[in-house]
Protein backbone atom coordinates (compact mmCIF):
# COMPACT_ATOMS: atom_id res chain seq x y z
CA UNK A 1 0.00 0.00 0.00
CA UNK A 2 1.38 3.39 -0.99
CA UNK A 3 1.02 6.44 1.22
CA UNK A 4 1.46 10.19 0.91
CA UNK A 5 2.55 10.62 4.52
CA UNK A 6 6.04 11.86 3.66
CA UNK A 7 4.70 14.46 1.22
CA UNK A 8 2.01 15.71 3.62
CA UNK A 9 4.43 15.71 6.51
CA UNK A 10 6.81 17.92 4.54
CA UNK A 11 3.94 20.25 3.71
CA UNK A 12 3.23 20.86 7.39
CA UNK A 13 6.91 20.91 8.37
CA UNK A 14 6.53 17.86 10.57
CA UNK A 15 9.27 15.38 11.36
CA UNK A 16 8.61 11.67 11.73
CA UNK A 17 9.13 12.11 15.47
CA UNK A 18 6.51 14.90 15.62
CA UNK A 19 3.95 12.81 13.77
CA UNK A 20 4.71 9.77 15.91
CA UNK A 21 4.16 11.81 19.08
CA UNK A 22 0.91 13.25 17.73
CA UNK A 23 -0.59 9.86 16.97
CA UNK A 24 1.03 8.08 19.93
CA UNK A 25 3.17 5.50 18.14
CA UNK A 26 6.88 4.76 17.81
CA UNK A 27 8.86 6.62 15.16
CA UNK A 28 9.71 3.31 13.50
CA UNK A 29 6.01 2.73 12.89
CA UNK A 30 5.85 5.98 10.93
CA UNK A 31 8.93 4.90 8.94
CA UNK A 32 7.26 1.60 8.02
CA UNK A 33 4.00 3.37 7.19
CA UNK A 34 5.83 5.75 4.85
CA UNK A 35 7.60 2.87 3.16
CA UNK A 36 4.30 1.07 2.72
CA UNK A 37 5.61 -1.83 4.78
CA UNK A 38 2.95 -1.71 7.46
CA UNK A 39 -0.82 -1.85 7.16
CA UNK A 40 -2.20 0.31 9.98
CA UNK A 41 -5.38 -0.32 11.91
CA UNK A 42 -8.38 1.80 11.00
CA UNK A 43 -7.86 3.86 14.17
CA UNK A 44 -4.19 4.59 13.40
CA UNK A 45 -5.01 5.42 9.77
CA UNK A 46 -7.67 7.83 11.02
CA UNK A 47 -5.31 9.43 13.53
CA UNK A 48 -2.53 9.84 10.97
CA UNK A 49 -4.94 11.38 8.47
CA UNK A 50 -6.28 13.74 11.16
CA UNK A 51 -2.76 14.76 12.21
CA UNK A 52 -2.00 15.56 8.56
CA UNK A 53 -5.31 17.44 8.19
CA UNK A 54 -6.41 15.15 5.38
CA UNK A 55 -8.87 12.37 4.66
CA UNK A 56 -7.81 8.73 4.93
CA UNK A 57 -8.25 8.28 1.17
CA UNK A 58 -5.87 11.18 0.52
CA UNK A 59 -3.17 9.75 2.76
CA UNK A 60 -3.40 6.05 2.00
CA UNK A 61 -3.59 4.95 -1.61
CA UNK A 62 -5.38 1.60 -1.82
Amino acid sequence: MKTRIKELRARYGMTQEDLAKKVGVRRETIVFLEQGKYNPSLLLAHNVAAALKSKIDDVFIF
Partner: protein
Protein backbone atom coordinates in the same frame (compact mmCIF):
# COMPACT_ATOMS: atom_id res chain seq x y z
CA UNK B 1 7.98 17.28 38.26
CA UNK B 2 7.19 13.75 37.17
CA UNK B 3 10.62 13.39 35.58
CA UNK B 4 12.25 14.57 38.81
CA UNK B 5 10.35 11.88 40.70
CA UNK B 6 11.45 9.25 38.20
CA UNK B 7 15.03 10.44 38.55
CA UNK B 8 14.73 10.00 42.32
CA UNK B 9 13.37 6.48 41.79
CA UNK B 10 16.38 5.63 39.64
CA UNK B 11 18.75 6.92 42.31
CA UNK B 12 16.92 4.89 44.96
CA UNK B 13 17.13 1.80 42.72
CA UNK B 14 20.88 2.23 42.20
CA UNK B 15 21.42 2.83 45.93
CA UNK B 16 19.37 -0.28 46.72
CA UNK B 17 21.41 -2.36 44.27
CA UNK B 18 24.64 -1.19 45.91
CA UNK B 19 23.21 -1.98 49.36
CA UNK B 20 22.29 -5.49 48.27
CA UNK B 21 25.72 -6.02 46.73
CA UNK B 22 27.42 -4.86 49.92
CA UNK B 23 25.16 -6.95 52.16
CA UNK B 24 25.80 -9.99 49.94
CA UNK B 25 29.40 -9.85 51.15
CA UNK B 26 28.21 -10.02 54.77
CA UNK B 27 25.31 -12.45 54.79
CA UNK B 28 23.38 -14.22 52.05
CA UNK B 29 20.04 -14.23 53.88
CA UNK B 30 20.27 -10.52 54.73
CA UNK B 31 21.03 -9.74 51.10
CA UNK B 32 18.11 -11.83 49.89
CA UNK B 33 15.72 -10.19 52.36
CA UNK B 34 16.93 -6.73 51.34
CA UNK B 35 16.50 -7.56 47.67
CA UNK B 36 12.94 -8.76 48.17
CA UNK B 37 12.15 -5.69 50.31
CA UNK B 38 13.74 -3.52 47.61
CA UNK B 39 11.63 -5.12 44.89
CA UNK B 40 8.43 -4.45 46.79
CA UNK B 41 9.52 -0.92 47.71
CA UNK B 42 10.35 -0.22 44.06
CA UNK B 43 6.99 -1.48 42.90
CA UNK B 44 5.19 0.69 45.44
CA UNK B 45 7.08 3.84 44.42
CA UNK B 46 5.75 3.39 40.89
CA UNK B 47 2.45 5.07 40.27
CA UNK B 48 0.95 2.12 38.42
CA UNK B 49 -0.80 -0.59 40.42
CA UNK B 50 1.46 -3.07 42.18
CA UNK B 51 -0.36 -6.16 40.92
CA UNK B 52 0.26 -5.08 37.34
CA UNK B 53 3.99 -5.19 38.00
CA UNK B 54 4.11 -8.26 40.23
CA UNK B 55 4.30 -10.73 37.30
CA UNK B 56 7.27 -8.84 35.84
CA UNK B 57 9.07 -8.82 39.19
CA UNK B 58 8.42 -12.55 39.68
CA UNK B 59 9.51 -13.22 36.10
CA UNK B 60 12.75 -11.32 36.65
CA UNK B 61 13.41 -13.37 39.80
CA UNK B 62 12.71 -16.60 37.91
CA UNK B 63 14.98 -15.62 35.03
CA UNK B 64 17.68 -14.65 37.51
CA UNK B 65 17.29 -18.05 39.22
CA UNK B 66 17.61 -19.87 35.90
CA UNK B 67 20.67 -17.86 34.87
CA UNK B 68 22.31 -18.57 38.23
CA UNK B 69 21.52 -22.29 37.97
CA UNK B 70 22.94 -22.41 34.44
CA UNK B 71 26.08 -20.52 35.43
CA UNK B 72 26.75 -22.40 38.67
CA UNK B 73 25.37 -25.80 37.73
CA UNK B 74 22.40 -27.59 39.32
CA UNK B 75 22.24 -27.53 43.09
CA UNK B 76 24.49 -24.48 43.35
CA UNK B 77 21.83 -21.80 43.67
CA UNK B 78 23.40 -18.99 45.62
CA UNK B 79 20.97 -16.64 47.36
CA UNK B 80 23.08 -13.47 46.93
CA UNK B 81 23.45 -14.19 43.21
CA UNK B 82 19.71 -14.68 42.95
CA UNK B 83 19.03 -11.50 44.94
CA UNK B 84 21.36 -9.40 42.84
CA UNK B 85 19.99 -10.92 39.64
CA UNK B 86 16.45 -10.19 40.74
CA UNK B 87 17.30 -6.63 41.66
CA UNK B 88 19.03 -6.04 38.34
CA UNK B 89 15.84 -7.29 36.66
CA UNK B 90 13.78 -4.93 38.81
CA UNK B 91 16.04 -2.00 37.89
CA UNK B 92 15.60 -2.78 34.20
CA UNK B 93 11.82 -2.85 34.70
CA UNK B 94 11.98 0.42 36.69
CA UNK B 95 13.98 2.00 33.84
CA UNK B 96 11.38 0.96 31.27
CA UNK B 97 8.63 2.49 33.47
CA UNK B 98 10.71 5.65 33.75
CA UNK B 99 11.08 5.85 29.95
CA UNK B 100 7.36 5.33 29.50
CA UNK B 101 6.59 8.05 32.02
CA UNK B 102 8.94 10.47 30.27
CA UNK B 103 6.72 10.22 27.17
CA UNK B 104 8.60 7.63 25.07
CA UNK B 105 6.22 5.23 23.34
CA UNK B 106 7.65 1.78 23.99
CA UNK B 107 4.85 -0.25 22.46
CA UNK B 108 2.26 0.61 19.88
CA UNK B 109 -0.15 -1.45 17.81
CA UNK B 110 2.64 -2.59 15.44
CA UNK B 111 5.02 -3.80 18.16
CA UNK B 112 2.19 -5.49 20.07
CA UNK B 113 1.09 -7.32 16.90
CA UNK B 114 4.71 -8.33 16.22
CA UNK B 115 5.14 -9.53 19.80
CA UNK B 116 2.03 -11.71 19.46
CA UNK B 117 3.15 -13.14 16.13
CA UNK B 118 6.61 -13.87 17.53
CA UNK B 119 5.01 -15.66 20.50
CA UNK B 120 2.93 -17.76 18.12
CA UNK B 121 5.92 -18.75 15.95
CA UNK B 122 7.98 -19.39 19.06
CA UNK B 123 5.28 -21.75 20.33
CA UNK B 124 5.52 -23.75 17.09
CA UNK B 125 9.32 -23.84 17.17
CA UNK B 126 9.15 -25.12 20.75
CA UNK B 127 6.54 -27.69 19.78
CA UNK B 128 8.78 -29.03 17.02
CA UNK B 129 11.72 -29.08 19.42
CA UNK B 130 9.69 -31.07 21.98
CA UNK B 131 8.68 -33.54 19.26
CA UNK B 132 12.28 -33.95 18.06
CA UNK B 133 13.65 -34.42 21.59
CA UNK B 134 10.86 -36.85 22.46
CA UNK B 135 11.55 -39.08 19.45
CA UNK B 136 15.33 -38.87 19.98
CA UNK B 137 14.82 -40.04 23.56
CA UNK B 138 12.18 -42.64 22.69
CA UNK B 139 14.29 -44.19 19.94
CA UNK B 140 17.28 -44.32 22.27
CA UNK B 141 19.38 -42.10 20.01
CA UNK B 142 19.85 -39.61 22.83
CA UNK B 143 18.99 -39.95 26.53
CA UNK B 144 17.89 -36.76 28.22
CA UNK B 145 17.15 -36.01 31.85
CA UNK B 146 14.08 -33.94 32.77
CA UNK B 147 16.34 -30.98 33.65
CA UNK B 148 18.11 -31.12 30.29
CA UNK B 149 14.80 -31.43 28.47
CA UNK B 150 13.31 -28.50 30.41
CA UNK B 151 16.43 -26.38 29.90
CA UNK B 152 16.43 -26.90 26.13
CA UNK B 153 12.73 -26.01 25.87
CA UNK B 154 13.10 -23.03 28.18
CA UNK B 155 15.85 -21.47 26.10
CA UNK B 156 14.26 -22.48 22.80
CA UNK B 157 11.08 -20.62 23.73
CA UNK B 158 12.88 -17.57 25.06
CA UNK B 159 15.48 -17.21 22.32
CA UNK B 160 13.22 -18.09 19.39
CA UNK B 161 10.70 -15.49 20.60
CA UNK B 162 13.42 -12.86 20.89
CA UNK B 163 14.99 -13.61 17.50
CA UNK B 164 11.67 -13.83 15.65
CA UNK B 165 10.51 -10.59 17.27
CA UNK B 166 13.74 -8.84 16.25
CA UNK B 167 13.38 -10.17 12.68
CA UNK B 168 9.74 -9.08 12.39
CA UNK B 169 10.51 -5.64 13.85
CA UNK B 170 12.89 -4.97 10.95
CA UNK B 171 10.63 -6.45 8.30
CA UNK B 172 7.40 -4.89 7.13
CA UNK B 173 4.15 -6.81 7.34
CA UNK B 174 3.08 -6.34 3.74
Amino acid sequence: MEQKESGKQQLIAVAAALLVLLSAMIDARLSFALAIAGLFALSFTMKTKFWKQAPFILASLMIAAVVVVVLNGPGELSLPDLAVGGLVGAIIIAFSFYRRKSGVVLNDERTIAIHNRAAMYSWWVSYVMIAVLFWFDYSGYMKLTAIQFGGVILFTMLLSQLFIKRYLLYRGDS
